[in-house]
């Protein structure tokens, strides 16, 4: 069976905005989503390990990270909406079939996320009310939550690798369907790109977790002792180093072991060579910054580290977008869809976005002002 036959017709409505606009928001939204998503993906398991095996400062760091986790998750879910919206606008022909073929695992993300989110709250309420004497069952919930987020990462890697692995659709569809209608129980496990990609994302998430520890220590932990800050920076350096090596190893496996030759050739030639190179060596900059701050972290350099890590994530998102289109190119040209621009809703959205961001900035300014007046830190 020719897998291209499984791709449906174009929407008669066309894209509501030019492709570049859709993909810009998709990549921007995905980059923003990556920050909190990385923190729950790797940050919770790191926090649990620190709480289990770490010293006094490591345990305190674990407690700080976990107490912030409910807000981080809320922001992560929120930031995930934008790429989800725009992937459905521009990639609907492959997104819906791929997720339908694995409907039950994909649907289970909602159940798992609900359980994991409440799991975080159960753990954090334990930290708040019981501190070091937290009940054992709450700790178990913390570990289960960490595992659930890693499982969800695996399911996401499945869905988005299957979206471009159109060749695999017929083989997944036929044995898991009843009279041509899929039961939705397939997984993209035979795709060679799946495992290295999932693991590479975990390595990247470790680096983001470490960078966040630097940002938290430099910017938010103003009332913590110098010993704590030095301890936190040591942890950050170790975690970043492990994450960077992990990212390099699994990234190499992904690029050199699983990419199609034409995709690899494209990414290693011309101007794209620069993007590929920067994506590969990008984590080196935050690592150097953390190394330089290991004895004393400052607000400015902590902020620079955070911005540098954001750049690392943005490079990954851009590279991923280019590779995604290249993987799809034998089956589908997403740039060739008809366009029917909705000017007034588009402009209104942009105006509201600016107004909304302005309102958020105003609220944060009030918060910073209140924080200066306050004598204690907020209890999450």
């Amino acid at each position: 069976m020719n897998p291209t036959e499984l791709i449906g017709p174009s929407s008669p409505l066309g894209y509501p905005a030019p492709y570049w606009f859709l993909v810009l928001f998709k990549v921007l939204g995905f980059t923003l989503h990556l920050v909190p998503m990385n923190l729950w993906y790797a940050g919770i398991i790191v926090a649990m390990l620190l709480e289990w095996r770490g010293g006094e400062h490591a345990r305190h760091l674990s407690s700080r990270v976990m107490k912030q986790m409910p807000i981080i998750i809320a922001l992560g879910v929120n930031f995930g909406i934008v790429p989800l919206l725009f992937v459905q606008v521009a990639y609907y022909k492959v997104f819906y079939p791929a997720t339908i073929l694995m409907a039950w695992p994909w649907f289970s993300v909602i159940v798992l996320l609900t359980l994991a989110y409440y799991g975080v709250y159960i753990y954090v309420i334990g930290l708040r009310d019981e501190g070091a004497a937290m009940a054992r069952w709450r700790r178990v919930v913390g570990w289960v939550t960490a595992v659930l987020f890693i499982v969800m990462g695996f399911l996401f890697s499945n869905a988005f690798s299957l979206m471009t692995n159109v060749n695999a659709w017929p083989a997944l569809w036929q044995p898991t369907s009843v009279a041509g209608a899929p039961l939705g129980i397939a997984l993209n496990g035979a795709d060679p790109t799946l495992w290295p990609r999932w693991l590479m994302m975990f390595g990247l998430a470790l680096t983001t977790t470490a960078a966040y520890v630097v940002v938290d220590t430099g910017l938010f932990a103003v009332r913590e002792s110098d010993e704590y800050k030095r301890g936190a920076m040591r942890v950050a350096l170790k975690v970043y180093t492990v994450g960077m090596i992990w990212f390099a190893l699994t990234g190499s496996w992904y690029v050199f072991g699983t990419w199609r030759p034409d995709v690899r050739e494209m990414m290693f030639s011309g101007p794209l060579m620069v993007v590929t190179g920067l994506t590969a060596i990008g984590p080196g900059l935050p690592w150097l910054l953390i190394l330089a701050q290991r004895r004393a972290v400052t607000r400015t350099w902590a902020l620079v580290t955070g911005v540098a890590q954001f750049g690392v994530l943005a490079l990954n998102a851009i590279s991923r977008q280019i590779v995604q289109n290249a993987e799809l190119s034998p089956f589908l040209d997403v740039t060739a869809e008809p366009v029917n621009i909705q000017w007034s809703p588009l402009v209104l959205f942009l105006v509201l976005l600016v107004a909304g961001l302005g309102t958020v900035a105003w609220m944060l300014r009030r918060l910073v002002a209140a924080r200066r007046m306050s004598t204690d830190e907020p209890i999450y």
């Binding site: 879910v77 459905q88 079939p97 909602i110 609900t114 017929p170 209608a181």
Partner: protein, 456 residues
């Protein structure tokens, strides 16, 4: 048919949308009404210096965050998940029409999340004026979120002139928009009262404070009653003709309409006579009873709102069985199996002998062995009928509906389903394909129940 059809035995996959949607609606409306309640009541508590009430409101804000920000937000995303899986063509159509509506709603969602967290976590650390302003930012953005989403969901019930104009604003400002905004705003007030009442019943021990909360929490529900009545009347007036006819014709909807009326009247009467006029009734048992009544009323209302849309998912645009209304004439000429992306691939792969010059030869379908014809009939059932009907057991199972029918009766309904029941989509295939579906249905239809006496 543009996409693979997700087969969920017994339940049917669209029922998952219904389940997740109802679970979401019960919280998302509280997220709107509860936000407004917190903004209004925090202002009142600051103004009157009622420190006990202020302390209670902080407690309630924590409950509010746990319910709305966690559960409400995730079930909201869950709707996205399920509509993409169980109704992909309608989702494709909606997202290409309203992506900027959703993008605007996303902005309000960001404001909701940020303001909700600041409102609670910085309680006592912000000056009273700023704290109240943050509360109002939450309330305003949550209501805007309701307005934006209602524009899209109301469009699904009455697309108005959109099929001719295909413009965002014509679709968004559809005839159902204002009535549904009013009704949903009223519903959100009602749910806010119920949640506050329930929470306070368990948390508040001081009788004075308890009475104050009862009186104050009853007010939104009573305002909500007015909005629900006005919105409900508007909803009925601007229903498409077929939806009004369905309310009369479908027995389940008859019963549910009566149930909705009774439940709604009971809830508002209890609010008026109870918390508002006699604020000493507050007890956990009564609160649970009351809360259950309210949830039943809202759930029934949502069910009716969804059901009257049949046979469309988006009225006059996308049929309930994942076909664009515009596509039906062509499918009747060329065949449903030929027109469907996945059905065509299925036939090409399993029955290459019926393919002629790259297309399915309809005449050859009826030359296949009987078992293969039944199999292809099952394919047609999955893609054409399983949206609304399970097979033998489960949700509206077709086999039970045609129990004891003759082949002629089945054939007639397959060929003219919209004549048999106007809330069914028309047949979108060739006569040969209708024959295949008839043979499949015959194969699963149980015989007429035995032992029934008709006077002979």
């Amino acid at each position: 048919m543009h996409y693979p059809w997700w087969y969920v035995p017994f339940l049917t996959s669209p029922m998952l949308i219904a389940i997740i949607s109802v679970l979401h609606v019960l919280v998302s409306h509280y997220a709107v009404g509860g936000g407004l309640f917190l903004a209004v009541e925090t202002r009142y508590a600051y103004r009157t210096g009622t420190s006990g009430y202020l302390a209670y409101l902080k407690q309630h804000a924590w409950f509010f965050i746990l319910v709305t920000v966690v559960y409400g937000a995730i079930t909201g995303v869950g709707i996205w998940w399920t509509i993409g899986l169980a109704s992909p063509l309608a989702t494709e159509t909606l997202i290409h029409t309203f992506v900027f509506g959703w993008a605007m709603e996303y902005v309000t969602f960001v404001l909701e999340i940020v303001s909700a967290f600041i409102f609670y976590y910085w309680w006592g650390r912000l000056d009273a004026k700023t704290h109240q302003t943050i509360g109002w930012i939450y309330a305003g953005s949550a209501w805007m979120s309701l307005v934006l989403i209602t524009g899209i969901t109301a469009f699904m019930l009455n697309s108005g002139d959109w099929p001719e104009h295909r413009s965002f604003w014509v679709g968004f400002l559809n005839p159902q928009f204002i009535p549904q905004v009013l009704a949903r705003t009223g519903g959100s007030f009602l749910l806010a009262s119920l949640y506050v009442y329930l929470h306070a019943a368990f948390k508040v021990k001081d009788p004075e404070l308890s009475h104050l909360i009862e009186r104050r929490s009853a007010r939104p529900a009573l305002w909500g009653a007015i909005l629900i009545v006005i919105g409900g009347i508007g909803w009925y007036v601007f229903l498409p003709e077929s939806a009004k006819a369905a309310l009369v014709a479908a027995s389940v909807l008859n019963v549910l309409m009566v149930l909705l009326f009774v439940l709604t009247v009971a809830v508002f009467t209890m609010f008026y006579l109870g918390p508002y006029r006699n604020p000493r009734w507050l007890s956990p048992g009564f609160a649970i009873f009351f809360f259950t009544f309210g949830l039943a009323a809202v759930t029934t209302g949502e069910y009716i709102r969804e059901a009257v849309r049949k046979p469309y998912i988006i009225y006059n645009v996308v049929m309930g069985n994942q076909i664009l209304a515009d596509e039906i004439p062509a499918l009747r000429r060329t065949g449903y199996l030929e027109g469907g992306t996945w059905t065509k691939a299925f036939v090409s792969h399993h029955y290459p002998q019926v393919i002629n010059e790259g297309k399915i030869d309809e005449a050859r379908l009826l030359m296949l062995p009987e078992a293969d014809q039944v199999k292809l009939g099952e394919v047609l059932f999955q893609y054409h009928c399983n949206d609304c009907h399970a097979k033998v057991r489960g949700y509206s199972p077709v086999a039970q509906l045609i129990r004891g029918w003759t082949p002629e009766m089945i054939r007639t309904v397959v060929r003219y389903p919209e004549k048999s029941h106007f809330f069914m989509p028309p047949w979108a295939g060739t006569p040969e394909e209708a024959e295949l579906l008839t043979k499949y249905l015959m194969s699963i239809a149980p015989p007429h129940p035995g032992g029934m006496y008709y006077g002979q």
